[in-house]
């Protein structure tokens, strides 16, 4: 596969220049920090710090429940692999308003950088296509971020963006880890919108 040269820090803001336009849900660890920095831990984002594997189906629940809002899932490769079948569930439901972004550093950054399956033979773009996603894009360099920004903004979903990034520290950002507070914050902001 292509060499990965993309630095994760600063990538998401180039893909989502107007983050207020979306509802976000993230998995745990590094991608949650990258995403929280994107919205400054905004009320339109629900981030997790546990329940590994839950992000995609949570995003599906949001997308089906709020069909007039654009929903984005941001999750790491470990998170994605843990509940890879949820991509089939999304493909079958085919919500037009859902985008899944996998921030793939090739391993488990949170626990010491141990290699993951995508460092070996797993190709998540082919996996997503195989499950039935018709819109799939792989980006692994700074130059591809413009394509990624166009991809997430164009036409109907569901979409799968495989964002392959170099190993390295995620964005430095401290977010609220209290799930009760974050749930109430999100619900209140959603109702008020």
């Amino acid at each position: 596969m292509t060499e990965v040269t993309l630095n994760r820090v600063g990538a998401l803001p180039q893909i989502f220049p107007n983050p207020d336009d979306y509802l976000f849900v993230t998995g745990l660890a590094g991608p949650a920090r990258d995403a929280a920095a994107l919205t400054s831990d905004g009320a339109n984002m629900f981030t997790m710090a546990g329940c590994m594997g839950a992000a995609t189906s949570m995003g599906l629940g949001m997308a089906l429940g709020a069909p007039d809002r654009n929903v984005v899932v941001i999750a790491g490769d470990g998170e994605m692999m843990m509940n890879i079948g949820s991509l089939a569930t999304v493909a079958t439901q085919a919500p037009k308003n859902l985008t899944v972004v996998c921030v793939d550093n090739g391993g488990h950054g949170e626990t010491g950088g141990q290699d993951g399956h995508t460092s070996a033979r797993t190709n998540l773009a082919k996996v997503a296509e195989g499950f039935g996603f018709e819109k799939v894009l792989t980006v692994s360099s700074e130059a591809g971020l413009k394509d990624a920004a166009e991809f997430v903004a164009a036409g109907d979903g569901p979409r799968f963006l495989w964002l392959r990034v170099m190993a390295g520290e995620p964005t430095k950002f401290k977010r609220n880890l209290n799930p009760m507070e974050c749930r109430v914050r999100f619900k209140n902001a959603f109702q008020a919108a």
């Binding site: 546990g50 839950a54 429940g65 569930t89 799930p179 619900k187 109702q191």
Partner: protein
Amino acid sequence: MSGDVHPHDPWSRALFKQFKAAGVSLFSYIPDAGNARLVELADADNEMRTVLLTTEEEGVSLAAGADLVGQKAVLMMQSSGVGNCPNFLSFVKGGGFPILMMVSMRGDYGEQNPWQYPMGEAVEPILEAMGVLIFKVERADELEGAANAAINAAFRGGKAAALVLSQKFLGAKAF
């Protein structure tokens, strides 16, 4: 069996009506004989959405996502699927997400398949360990009250609630 009435049709119709009246619009499931008719009824209703899952835990987070945008979901599974859910049930204790489940039992009254017993016996301890309230149905006349209690516990009480349909109620499968 075209022309015949599905054996679970009468109670499934009644329960579907209760779920609908409670505002449930998303029905997620792993197929089981005990939820088959209910899924058909939801599929036939334009206001309802059925979501076939690949594993039961997906349905827990799907319900949490629906709650974030003000919608209500029910997650339907066979008892063996309860074993796939505990980690995601953290949403309940940690975040107060309302989660309504319907569990059709195997491995209890009259079971003939030895593979079903271990999880059948573990359903209640697992649900209790994760803070899920159990509303058990053994007789047909218990269904309406138990379903109401589970619906209220979830959507008014902000709890996780499981409507557990026993094999005494559903009937055991012959092997």
